[in-house]
């Protein structure tokens, strides 16, 4: 009665590979039997991991959607789950795949075929966050005082997240990855990513696709690339690592106490020790060499190298196991409205309803219904008088300013969702369909996915933070 399991999936469609995991999340009542019910996710079990499969491409610029769908069906079968079992989860398109022509279309069609409430996400910041959650860096930061930095080094990019006491405090993405330089065992460079050209030039490396390089020269490139990035992470603002930053800027780094390296390159960090070109090019790229250099160079920096829980699956594990939150268990939901996907968040500042709705109609699609979800940040004290005024003002302004929409979504940080929801229902004489959930913290510009109610008392929520960037 006081606990329940739900199934969550994570799907990662990357530059070179795709993978999937199935996890089981345990919800349990965490509040006293004499208090208001409050459930939390207390356990996250990894139930199934797919093989890492090559991403099927129709051409250099298009992903083979039919192939991906078939793979998905096969994997669900192997995992022994049906679409209807899946309550939550996330599909992410990572790295350079996100730039492919049909990526967006694919993302949504995938989200639809993966289960009712599997959400589609992309974006380097979110990827960094998920990787940091999946690698265990976030959890680790709760056990110590300092900052834990997770660098997820994959094929094309290194997604970096900084965690302090369980919260991500900064993120940055570098063009550092195993497949930026591809080569044959004889040393012929078959591909060189244009993204690292400015950095190569600044460091005096004369490297071209089609050229044949020596092991020593390539190792020097890998060593310098590791140093540039680590310099940046250590707060050196003059480092040429800034040229590797994806958006060209490097934020002010918090001092790092521990460093974790996840991702494909992270997975090779301990073992990789190539001594020749053929040993380097086992996957047709310089990844193993980059891993070895990162390991060697990291010793010269003030941070300790920590071992991640998961390496090359960190992002997909973060997406499948760590992306879901649970709302408060005293909330108000009009039947039949959920699930809902991709609702943008509008923040209500100083309880100025009219001003907030005006802003919301300007920045978001005013014809959508609902155009946004209204978020009420933490209030010092919640009195009935406040609920009364707030509900009256909300109903009045929503009706006149958005006459075409009868659905109102409200999120509260305080535990007051049921009280406010009921007040809204009464004040609107039942005219508005209301979803009012609480104990969720979001920001202006976030996007939300609200799942189907669990036991009619709470809902899974996935917050897609796209706005997180101070850099």
């Amino acid at each position: 009665m006081d606990e329940q399991w739900i199934i969550s999936v994570g799907i990662d469609l990357g530059t070179s590979t795709m993978k999937l995991i199935v996890s089981r999340l345990k919800l349990a009542r965490k509040s006293s039997p004499f208090g208001l019910p409050r459930f939390e996710i207390v356990e996250r079990l990894l139930a199934y991991e797919s093989e890492v499969t090559s991403t099927p491409l129709l051409s250099e610029t298009e992903i083979d959607m039919a192939e991906v769908s078939m793979w998905l069906q096969k994997e669900y079968q192997a995992a022994g789950i049906r679409l209807s079992d899946i309550k939550t989860g996330a599909v992410i398109i990572t790295g350079e795949t996100a730039n492919k022509g049909n990526a967006k279309q694919l993302l949504h069609s995938l989200a639809d075929r993966a289960g009712d409430f599997v959400v589609a996400t992309a974006g380097a910041d979110l990827e960094s966050l998920l990787a940091g959650k999946g690698s265990g860096a976030m959890k680790r930061s709760l056990q110590m005082r300092g900052v834990v930095c997770n660098v997820d080094v994959g094929g094309g990019t290194a997604n970096t997240s900084f965690f302090r006491r369980g919260h991500m405090v900064e993120t940055v993405t570098f063009h550092v990855g195993g497949r930026l330089i591809r080569l044959r065992p004889d040393g012929e460079v078959t591909y060189l990513s244009a993204a690292i050209r400015p950095w190569l030039d600044a460091n005096g490396f004369k490297l071209q696709a089609g050229q044949t390089v020596s092991f020593g020269y390539l190792k020097e490139v890998a060593r310098q690339m590791s140093r540039s990035m680590l310099d940046c992470l250590a707060g050196d603002t003059n480092s040429t690592g800034a040229l590797l930053s994806v958006n060209g800027k490097v934020p002010i780094m918090p001092p790092v106490e521990e460093l974790m390296v996840s991702g494909g390159v992270g997975g090779m960090l301990i073992s990789a020790n190539p001594r020749s070109l053929p040993e380097t090019a086992v996957y047709g790229d310089f990844g193993p060499l980059l891993a070895a250099c990162l390991r060697e160079e990291a010793r010269h920096y003030p941070f300790a190298l920590a071992v991640p829980d998961y390496t090359f699956r960190a992002t997909v594990i973060g997406a499948g196991m760590q992306s879901t939150e649970i709302s408060g268990a005293t909330i108000h939901i009009s039947p039949g409205l959920l699930p809902m996907k991709n609702i943008p968040v509008l923040k209500l500042d100083n309880l100025e309803v009219k001003k907030a709705i005006e802003l919301g109609l300007q920045v978001y699609d005013a014809d959508a219904c609902p155009p946004f979800a209204l978020f009420i940040p933490q209030l010092q004290t919640v009195t009935y008088e406040l609920i009364r005024q707030l509900s009256e003002s909300l109903v009045a302004h929503y009706r006149t300013m958005i006459p075409g929409c009868r659905t109102l979504i409200v999120l509260c940080e305080n535990d007051m969702g049921k009280a406010l929801g009921q007040a809204l229902k009464l004040r609107s004489s039942g005219e508005l369909s209301i979803v009012c959930v609480d104990q969720i913290k979001v920001e202006f510009g976030d996007y939300l996915d609200l799942g189907e109610p669990i036991r009619d008392t709470m809902i899974p929520v996935i917050v897609k933070t796209l706005a997180f960037h101070s850099g």
Partner: protein
């Protein structure tokens, strides 16, 4: 407001003491001078509290950073934010700091005062509560004889019979219990929110009642007389050092004489620093609707 006065007073006393003893900073004083502080303090305190003549109403979460050089200020803050308990208050030798001692005594005095408080007529009128009383006689007797707080006076029984709706779907009863403060502070948030909730579930409430000098089990006696389907009793809890204005909601399906405790459902610790009053009120409505659905309450009720 009341608590601010007390806090101000404590600060003033501290300043006066420091002047008299010639120490410029509390933190730098020797432990000997602090021990002296405390002796003076204890003599002065009682009269000062009486002067303020207001019962203390809430916890004074003293978040002053008393620890001179915490190893991690952030972590200390995190720990203090996680509990209303008096942690990280520092010490003078083996004893508490004078200020902390005073605050502790203020909270204790507040808890004691609360028991002797009364619910104002204004509040009873505001919600048009039908007033009755138990056999408690007076506070002293109420404390000594819990059994007398469980039965209504004969006059009250007659008044209930003639003036209140019988067999209501939901009967609301409010009682001061051990903390009139709890009712004064929380009823205005819990009651209307509960009414909204009943309204939303399409449930009807009978005549709301206020019982003076009530104990929880007086709900059985009222149940016997008015025979409601569900009775909700909002009652002041025994005051403590964290809060003296905490309220509980006891709920029971068809309460009658001889009801066992396990048949009561309770939502406790309702105050601004505990179970949020407004949301609590809304949740009581949900519990009531489940009781009516399942025709039971207490440990058998599935929420």
């Amino acid at each position: 407001m009341d608590s601010l006065d007390l806090e101000e007073m404590t600060t003033r006393i501290m300043q006066e003491l420091q002047q008299r003893l010639g120490t410029t900073s509390e933190e730098k004083g020797t432990s000997q001078s602090r021990i002296n502080d405390e002796f003076h303090q204890q003599e002065q305190l009682p009269s000062a509290v009486v002067e303020s003549n207001e019962s203390f109403t809430g916890p004074r979460h003293n978040r002053r950073n008393n620890i001179p050089q915490p190893r991690s200020a952030e972590m200390l803050e995190e720990l203090q934010a996680a509990t209303p308990a008096r942690i990280g208050v520092w010490r003078a030798g083996t004893r508490p700091l004078t200020r902390e001692m005073l605050l502790f005594r203020c909270d204790h005095a507040g808890a004691v005062d609360t028991v002797y408080g009364e619910v104002s007529d204004k509040l009873i009128e505001k919600f048009q509560l039908f007033q009755v009383e138990t056999l408690y006689e007076n506070t002293e007797n109420y404390l000594k004889r819990p059994d007398m707080g469980r039965l209504l006076t004969d006059e009250s029984i007659d008044r209930l019979r003639s003036g209140c709706q019988k067999r209501a779907q939901v009967q609301i009863v409010v009682s001061d219990g051990l903390s009139a403060n709890a009712i004064e502070h929380n009823l205005s948030d819990v009651y209307p929110s509960l009414m909204d909730s009943l309204n939303a579930y399409g449930l009807k409430a009978g005549t709301p009642i206020f019982v003076k000098g009530g104990r929880v089990a007086v709900m059985d006696h009222i149940g016997e007389i008015l025979e409601p389907d569900v009775l909700v009793m909002l009652i002041g809890e025994r005051p403590g050092l964290v809060s003296s204005s905490s309220m509980s909601a006891y709920m029971c399906y068809r309460p009658r004489k001889g009801m066992v405790e396990s048949a009561r459902t309770v939502l406790s610790n309702i105050h601004q620093g505990g179970t949020p009053p407004v949301e609590g009120g809304a949740h009581i409505g949900t519990i009531v609707s489940k009781m009516l659905e399942q025709k039971t309450s207490g440990v058998k009720l599935v929420i």
